[in-house]
């Protein structure tokens, strides 16, 4: 790839993490069970990806106990929103160039 292209953010560029970010973009908050069901992943897998996004400060996780059951509420941070915006712009650019390349 040409050097003047911005690299796609590797934190977001994975199926599960991208899906998490897109789902959170459309919600004010979401819980663990909802994300697990919508993305169709195991608890362990989802936890790993959520931790990665949290480390990058793209998401915020709030844990609490309700009737002795753990409840995790997840939301997108401003940093995460900006990163996702940049990611989608770069992705759009890559796809546009790829399609132009195919035409030539």
């Amino acid at each position: 790839m040409e050097s003047n292209f911005a690299e796609l953010d590797s934190v977001i560029h994975s199926r599960v993490r991208l899906a998490i970010m897109i789902l959170l973009l459309q919600s004010e908050t979401a819980n663990f069970t909802y994300l697990k069901k919508e993305i169709d992943v195991s608890d362990g897998n989802l936890s790993t990806h959520l931790r990665k996004l949290e480390e990058a400060k793209y998401i915020k996780m709030q844990k609490r106990f309700e009737n002795r059951k753990p409840k995790t509420t997840i939301s997108l941070t401003d940093k995460g929103r900006a990163a996702l915006n940049e990611y989608t712009s770069n992705l759009e650019e890559y796809l546009r160039l790829a399609s132009d390349g195919k035409k030539q």
Binding site: R15, A19, Y34, T88
Partner: protein, 198 residues
């Protein structure tokens, strides 16, 4: 390990947007709740007028209004627990109807106590507020029916201002309530059930 190609990334984005777009979570709850509460407030008002207890009319509105507020808060909390996410259109709809509650409290309880206007103006103002709530809900849901109901409430409010006969006045208001709140409430409920595959 979980890395994807750019084309696959685009597919993931499309799939996740489609997943949430397909679902309409709002099931007409606020339409039906307010339809029922206002009907009860009308019955209570009728009884209070019959027994010439005019001072209690404002309190009956406040009672049903506060009752509605409590039910609405419990409902929105439970809905979130069940759905697992608060999506922006739902948040918008909740805010509209919660805001309506505060405005109704002022219009139907506080202002009449302050003798700001006569009792029948309460119904005109309530019609205007319900029109705004219906119209905004329709815009957020991209559903024509609540938009039309909002406009009908506004047109109805003009009729209520013109009507002088008390029975005709209440008749028109009840009709507006059934057509613009109860019927769309039932429609939105069945639509949400259908879209969520229940």
């Amino acid at each position: 390990m979980d890395q994807i190609t750019n084309e696959q990334a685009l597919e993931v984005i499309k799939e996740m947007i489609e997943r949430t777009k397909r679902k309409q979570n709002y099931a007409g709850f606020y339409h039906l709740l307010w339809g029922v509460l206002i009907s009860l407030a009308i019955v209570a008002m009728y009884i209070l007028i019959k027994f010439e207890m005019y001072d209690l009319i404002g309190f009956s509105w406040a009672f049903f209004g506060i009752g509605g507020a409590i039910v609405s808060v419990i409902y929105s909390k439970r809905t979130y627990e069940k759905q697992g996410s608060i999506q922006y259109p739902d948040l918008g709809i909740n805010s509209i109807w919660m805001g309506l509650m505060i405005a109704m409290f002022l219009v139907a309880f506080v202002f009449p106590i302050l003798k700001a206007y006569e009792w029948y103006i309460v119904y005109v103002m309530v019609s205007l507020l319900l029109g705004a709530a219906n119209f905004s809900t329709g815009i957020l849901l991209k559903q024509k029916m609540p938009i039309i109901n909002g406009i009908l409430w506004w047109i109805g409010s003009i009729f209520l201002l013109i009507l002088e006969n008390q029975v005709a006045f209440m008749g028109v208001f009840v009709l507006l309530l059934i057509v613009n709140n109860v019927i769309p409430g039932i429609y939105l409920y069945s639509l949400a059930r259908k879209q969520n595959g229940k």
